[in-house]
């Protein structure tokens, strides 16, 4: 979503993005003229008249589970966004019985919060695992 009209979105998709992605962008490119929605989400930059680089993870109940907002010159890490979605999906699937420690990726160790884990995380999880 940006302040550009859907007509500009079409031209951008046709003339540039389709050259990067086969068939063009598959998902909706939304138009937020005047930044009305951006203001609602706190990402509209009044001075510049554009949206900052905000990214919101919204779960199936419509609840915001996480967000990240960057100023325009630095791009996002798409893989990190996907990793976070996968982590929230696991937590939701286990109804909170499992939690994902720092550096978690699918397939890696999860933690099962409970009385026996208090003070014992160091036995189950090593600092190096945050950097793997």
């Amino acid at each position: 979503m940006s302040i550009d009209s859907m007509f500009v979105h079409k031209m951008w998709d046709d003339h540039e993005l389709a050259k990067m992605v086969d068939g063009g962008v598959p998902f909706p490119m939304l138009s937020d003229a005047g930044g009305k929605v951006g203001k609602l989400f706190g990402v509209y930059n009044e001075g510049a008249g554009v949206e900052n680089r905000g990214r919101f993870i919204i779960d199936p109940d419509g609840v915001i589970q996480g967000y990240e907002v960057l100023t325009p010159p630095v791009g996002r890490n798409v893989m990190e966004s996907l990793r976070q979605v996968q982590a929230f999906q696991l937590v939701r699937k286990t109804k909170g019985a499992e939690a994902t420690p720092s550096g978690w990726r699918p397939g890696k160790l999860t933690l099962k919060p409970g009385p026996e884990l208090v003070g014992n995380v160091w036995k189950a999880w090593k600092t190096d695992m945050a950097f793997e």
Partner: protein, 84 residues
């Protein structure tokens, strides 16, 4: 979900995703929307909105609450034809 429709403008619907819109908001669609920065909190429902857009050759209207039941990544960016 996102059907092809005549062109409109993006607007907040006046309530959180999946919840009833307060009556005043529902009955007065032309009432000025309060334009102030709001605080977004994790763990709380996203504010609902409708917005026009473009997808795969069609102009569409998207309502955030139509995506209830799915995971959504909502991304804002400064502008088309920019560099990052």
């Amino acid at each position: 979900m996102a059907e092809e429709q005549p062109v409109g403008c993006a607007r907040p619907t006046g309530g959180p995703v999946g919840e009833a819109v307060p009556e005043t908001a529902a009955n007065e669609p032309s009432a000025p929307i309060k334009e102030e920065m709001q605080m977004i909190h994790v763990g709380e429902k996203a504010p609902d909105f409708v917005a026009p857009g473009y997808q795969q050759g069609k102009f569409i209207n998207v309502k955030l609450s139509d995506y209830l039941g799915k995971w959504v990544l909502l991304c804002f960016y400064p502008g088309d034809f920019t560099f990052v």
